[in-house]
């Protein structure tokens, strides 16, 4: 498709100015490009190369290393169905097969109307709501063929527009919007999809308050309301709070402060290093 728009080129130049080596800005700029077109077009990659003093081959070489960058056009919604072990045991393959049948495409394909690209994915870190899928990185759990049909139907009809922006849109990804939107799936219960929260694209950096589990131990059943997963594009901290004790993604067990708040404080919950979901 196209090169970066003047506004996006300006953003790119600002990013470049942040780094001592121009090429360090490559990945952030690729996000801008993917946000613009939904994927990384050839012209766009050329343009990025020109801005950074790289050849298009180098830009593409880096882009293709990462699964979440797409160098071919994708649908408005990229649906990734998890087929890793927890989901597999809960029927992920049946789900994937149903998804293939319903959409008429194989993993990697895009529906002719350009709405959906189907992918099979490894563990998406929502094993508690297996089998699960993400749509443009937003979680939808406890899926079965019927619910999947409902989900795509809702997406097609625009009923989830508030929760799931088109693929590539650069915004803070509140990954739980899908769970809450589909209210039932958070608790494994039925019920119509109700947006649980508005402002899912909020830029608020503060962590959400989390409720500790009553018994302070392992969650009973699927993750309780106390699970809050957030990612942003620049920092992808993901903290799972489990009744006052959390296992952060670097494997460090942490102890909750008495009030149950994240002991690492708000800055850390945003800043701890993790790339989950990015690759």
């Amino acid at each position: 498709m196209a090169r970066l728009t003047p506004a996006n080129e300006e953003r790119a130049r600002q990013l470049i100015a942040l780094y001592p080596h121009h090429r360090s800005a490559l990945i952030p700029i690729l996000h801008i490009l993917q946000g613009q077109d939904g994927y990384l077009s050839e012209d766009g990659m050329h343009h990025v190369g020109e801005l950074l003093g790289l050849t298009a081959a180098e830009v593409r070489g880096t882009a293709t290393f990462y699964d979440m960058f797409h160098v071919e056009p994708v649908g408005k919604y990229v649906v990734a169905v998890c087929t890793n072990i927890a989901c597999m045991l809960q029927g992920a393959y049946e789900l994937l097969e149903a998804a293939e049948d319903q959409l008429g495409i194989a993993p990697g394909g895009t529906t002719p109307d350009g709405m959906f690209t189907l992918e099979d994915a490894e563990c998406l870190a929502l094993c508690g709501n297996a089998p699960c899928a993400t749509v443009n990185w937003r979680f939808f759990g406890d899926l079965d063929p019927e619910r999947f049909a409902q989900l795509t139907e809702d997406l097609r009809a625009g009923r989830l527009d508030a929760e799931v922006p088109p693929h590539g849109v650069l915004s803070r990804v509140d990954r739980n919007v899908g769970l809450r939107a589909a209210g039932q799936s958070v608790h494994g219960a039925g019920g119509p999809p109700v947006p649980a929260r508005s402002g899912q694209n909020s830029a608020s950096p503060e962590p959400l308050a989390v409720e500790p589990d009553a018994d302070g131990g392992q969650p009973a059943g699927p993750h309780d309301a106390g699970v809050e997963l957030r990612t942003t594009l620049s920092t992808t901290a993901v903290i799972a709070h489990e009744g006052g004790r959390g296992l952060d993604r670097t494997g460090t067990r942490t102890t909750a402060a008495p009030d149950g708040r994240n002991p690492q404080g708000s800055a850390d919950s945003q800043g701890s290093t993790d790339s989950q979901g990015q690759e």
């Binding site: 050839e42 790289l54 050849t55 298009a56 081959a57 830009v59 593409r60 070489g61």
Partner: protein, 962 residues
């Protein structure tokens, strides 16, 4: 399910039959010489090495071979393949370390044969082969493949992998020349590193990841690089293959000879390989002073022209409008009679010889002698109006490529080095990456611009004016660089000027004037940037007006040569090519010899060439193809070309190296020297030569430049990468041959590969003492007698020309004694310096001026007859500065008529902000439209007018001469 195979290491059936040697050179892996050493133990023996030496290099030096794939001695190590893992015991116990990535350290204990090391080697090879297709029987690399060889020598023998291997489409083109078989790729990264690190054009890179990793281009951008053949050469498996060689031969069927590339004047060393009397492949030989193993694609692949069915096979004589084949005696008699008749009229003033840069040195000497003695003319010129006055090229103090690369500042006043002298570009680019400051003086951007510390534009004809303003300190940035240079020069010249022709649409004299001004710089030396093949050999052998063999002026050498040649020499300095063509136009040339020259395509002023050749009364062409000019000849004599005959070549730094023969010439083509001998005989002169050895013996005996440079020296180990003349000019001769068969697989082991390191280096001496830098010590140079060394004192020294002009110092020192008396003095640096820099350049009148440079891929004869290269040339355009585009209301892409006093061309407009405003650039000699139809060689520069071409004639973009 999976069948377990018990793995037992097979006895090593194979020990590499060579030693590797990579302790020379200045490429990345070699540590800076600090003088510090470390002591370590290698396979039980205590050794020392310079601090910072990589384990693999230290082992190579010790003659211990460590297997490797990704490591290449001319590139930075990356430690990607793990093949070189060795057990290293240090303070923290025994561990496996990649030998290519870790320097030796004090107290290190390294074992290349321990169980741990062997197990690592087994493992790495088993993994590398997991996805390898093992299609050796149909793989071009089979038989010379590092993966094959090292698996046999260091691998486990069997694989436990029984699953399905990964599959890719079999070869996909990366470009029209290079094909990639991704199944065979072991991801060593040599190719992508070469493209980035060495060539600077990373048009290939790794894409995807994991087991889907592949070397890839951008989909719309092929790997169209001037150096793409090198990745084929260094790929350690059969993943990259070159189209001209694919499925043409098996390595064990190839014969090989070492030679020098003659496609430009850099003179890269090559291994020329042939099968069934047909050239099949050129591989770059790692000559440390010259090409570091690299070749450009023109030099690598234009051997196809040698095999061309269109080569001239038999002599021909004009009968009416036709050239008809005749026998050699008939053709020679006709040529000799015609030339002798012309020579009789006007006592030689009516005979001329144009060309000679295709010829090896011996042949150039033979023709120079023939012209002066038998044809009695000094109208000889090897340059086709696209060079510089011979006195400028020969007389200025000279630098070698190494000295240019080591100089703190390089000034380029020449054509686009990337287009014209590609491997010199690699050497200078490398130097620039390491901190050299390049100052570019040119009429437009070149391939060098992005590596230049300063790139200054000048309008055609204003080169000298620009130089004077630079020297007067009017460009502070450049002055700062020049001021700093003197302090940084480590023994060599502080400033090296690469001197050539930035544009063919201005006279060489205007550049020469700029050069004379530059010669006033402190510590300056010059590296010639003339590009045409053996042009420097031709000039050194006297194929230039006013110049006799050995860089001797006609007047200074007249007595010496008439005594030695036994005849009278022309009385006055002759005409250059422009003058010859002009004289011919006015009917004053009765006999013209085209010695491998095609002025109709190559002379900048196409109109002048056309008229001159049409009016020359008798034309003899000695050539390999029926070029436009040859078609006009009265007698055509087919010549043998490189790889078909032996000889020697002189590169742009004055390095004489040997040319090898590996195939026979087509039909009855002869080497040029034999033609000269036969013609001379028919004119009553017996040169007395029956072999190249005879000719060289004479050259060595009479030429002050070649004293002491014997064939024996050129064939010796220390001379095989060439000997800069005069002896001692390039410093000591270095035995600097890299002998790493894994670096450049495919080069067959030669005698050099079998020399033991001790023998190779002498007792710890990296240099031959006989050729030390000090002229006094050169007294015992091998192959020379005691009388010779004085010639070293004749070597132009990088002194300031002001000095040499004011005193008759070393430049006019008594030349070497020979049995018959003193040899004549060589040309001295022309009087120079700002003092003489009175400008003859016309005042800039502000009109549009033409600029014309060359591209690597053009309409040249060798390219046109190399099927793989013929189509690579760019489409002709008129490059115009944006201001002028706007001012004249032109449109990019639309046709514009470029008109000069000589003719006009309709070309699409390209906007080029890199030009000086008021200039229009049209590339020289592109098929379909050459600037030759525009250039007026009689005037200082060529004025152009631009006009919009009416829309209806736009589709017929092309040339129309006057």
């Amino acid at each position: 399910m999976t069948q377990r195979v018990e793995l037992t290491r097979k006895d090593r059936p194979y020990t590499p039959p060579y030693v590797t040697q990579s302790a020379v050179g200045t490429s990345p892996p070699n540590p800076p010489a600090t003088g510090e050493t470390v002591t370590f133990t290698l396979d039980g023996q205590e050794r020392t090495a310079a601090k910072g030496t990589l384990i693999i290099t230290a082992a190579d030096e010790a003659g211990v071979y460590i297997p490797r794939f990704c490591y290449h001695p001319r590139m930075k190590p990356v430690g990607m393949c793990r093949m070189c893992l060795v057990e290293v015991t240090g303070p923290r116990g025994a561990t496996l370390m990649p030998a290519c990535y870790n320097p030796v350290a004090d107290g290190m204990v390294i074992s290349t044969t321990s169980e741990m090391t062997k197990k690592a080697q087994d493992g790495v090879l088993e993994f590398l082969l997991v996805n390898h297709p093992l299609d050796c029987p149909v793989c071009d690399k089979g038989g010379e493949c590092p993966l094959q060889d090292q698996t046999l020598a260091y691998g486990p023998g069997e694989s436990r992998f029984v699953e399905e291997k990964r599959h890719w489409d079999k070869p996909i083109p990366l470009s029209t020349l290079v094909y990639l078989d991704r199944e065979r790729c072991i991801q060593c990264g040599r190719c992508v590193r070469f493209a980035d690190e060495v060539a600077g054009d990373p048009l290939i890179d790794f894409a995807e990841r994991g087991d889907t990793t592949e070397v890839a281009t951008f989909p719309t951008e092929p790997y169209a690089d001037y150096f793409s053949g090198n990745v084929v050469q260094i790929c350690p498996v059969g993943a990259l293959t070159a189209k001209p060689y694919r499925f043409r031969a098996r390595p064990w069927d190839l014969e090989q000879v070492e030679s020098t590339c003659t496609s430009c004047s850099v003179g890269c060393r090559v291994a020329a390989q042939a099968s069934s009397d047909e050239l099949t492949r050129y591989i770059g030989v790692d000559a440390d002073p010259v090409n570091w193993g690299w070749l450009c694609d023109k030099g690598r692949f234009d051997f196809q022209a040698v095999n061309s069915p269109e080569r001239l096979r038999a002599p021909m004589i004009r009968q009416g409008d036709e050239l008809v084949e005749v026998s050699w005696p008939e053709a020679l008699a006709a040529a000799a009679d015609g030339l002798a008749a012309a020579a009789r009229i006007g006592d030689g003033d009516q005979v001329a010889v144009i060309g000679g840069s295709r010829l090896p040195n011996e042949d150039a000497y033979a023709w120079a002698k023939l012209a002066r003695l038998a044809l009695r003319t000094d109208h000889v010129d090897a340059q086709l109006g696209d060079g510089l006055p011979a006195e400028t090229v020969l007389g200025l103090p000279k630098a070698t490529i190494d000295q240019a690369a080591a100089a703190p500042v390089v000034i380029t006043l020449c054509g686009d080095i990337k287009e014209e002298l590609p491997v010199l570009y690699l050497r200078l680019r490398d130097a620039a990456q390491k901190g050299q400051a390049i100052i570019e003086l040119s009429p437009s951007n070149t391939g060098m611009t992005r590596y230049s510390a300063a790139s200054l534009r000048y309008r055609p004809g204003q080169a000298a004016a620009l130089v004077r303003s630079v020297l007067a300190g009017e460009v502070p940035e450049v002055s700062a660089l020049l001021d700093a240079a003197a302090g940084k020069a480590a023994g060599g010249p502080a400033v090296v000027v690469v001197l050539g022709r930035p544009s063919l649409a201005e006279t060489g004299e205007s550049v020469a004037e700029a050069a004379r001004a530059l010669a006033g710089l402190e510590g300056v030396a010059f590296l010639s940037g003339l590009r045409r093949s053996n042009v420097h050999g031709a000039l050194d052998m006297g194929l230039a007006p006013g110049v006799l063999p050995g860089r001797v002026g006609l007047d200074q050498g007249r007595e010496w040569y008439s005594q030695h040649w036994g005849g009278e020499l022309p009385a006055a300095k002759g005409l250059d090519t422009a003058g010859i063509l002009e004289a011919a136009t006015h009917g004053r040339i009765g006999g013209l010899v085209l010695l491998g020259a095609d002025p109709l395509t190559d002379f900048p002023d196409g109109g002048a060439a056309l008229r001159g050749i049409a009016q020359a009364r008798f034309v003899v062409a000695v050539d390999t193809f029926l070029t436009d000019s040859v078609r006009k000849a009265d007698v055509v004599l087919p010549a043998a070309t490189y790889a078909e005959r032996r000889g020697t070549f002189t590169n742009l730094e004055g390095r004489v190296s040997r040319l090898g023969q590996i195939v026979t010439s087509p039909g009855s083509a002869w080497p040029d020297w034999m033609i000269a001998v036969e013609l001379a005989a028919r004119m009553g002169h017996d040169f007395g030569w029956s072999s190249l050895e005879d000719i060289w013996a004479e050259i060595e005996a009479v030429s002050p430049l070649h004293a002491g440079v014997s064939y024996d020296l050129l064939s010796s180990r220390e001379g095989r990468d060439g000997v800069p003349v005069p002896l001692g000019a390039g410093g000591a001769l270095r035995i600097a041959r890299r002998l790493d068969p894994m670096a450049d697989p495919g080069i067959q082991s030669t005698e050099a590969h079998l020399i033991s390191p001790t023998e190779f280096f002498g007792a710890g001496a990296g240099r031959l003492s006989a050729f030390s830098d000090a002229p006094a010590e050169a007294a015992t140079g091998p192959g020379g007698d005691e009388a010779e060394p004085a010639s070293a004192a004749n070597a132009p020294t990088p002194e300031t020309p002001a000095e040499s002009a004011s005193e008759s110092g070393p430049d006019t020192a008594p030349p070497a004694e020979s049995p018959d008396g003193p040899r004549p003095a060589m040309l001295a640096a022309p009087a120079a310096g700002p003092a003489t820099a009175s400008s003859s350049a016309p005042a800039d009148t502000g009109e549009l001026l033409l600029v014309s440079g060359r591209t690597l891929w053009d309409g040249g004869t060798a390219l046109a007859h190399s099927p793989s290269l013929a189509g690579l040339h760019p489409a002709p355009t008129a490059r115009i500065h944006p201001d002028d585009v706007a001012r004249l209301e032109l449109t990019a892409g639309a046709a514009v008529r470029v008109s000069t006093a000589r003719g006009s061309l309709d070309l699409p407009v390209t906007v080029d902000p890199s030009l000086a405003p008021g200039t229009v650039a049209v590339t020289f000699n592109l098929p379909g439209a050459s600037a030759a139809s525009l250039i007026d060689s009689r005037s200082e520069c060529t004025a152009v007018t631009l006009s919009v071409v009416p829309a209806r004639s736009v589709d017929s973009v092309g040339g129309s001469g006057e």
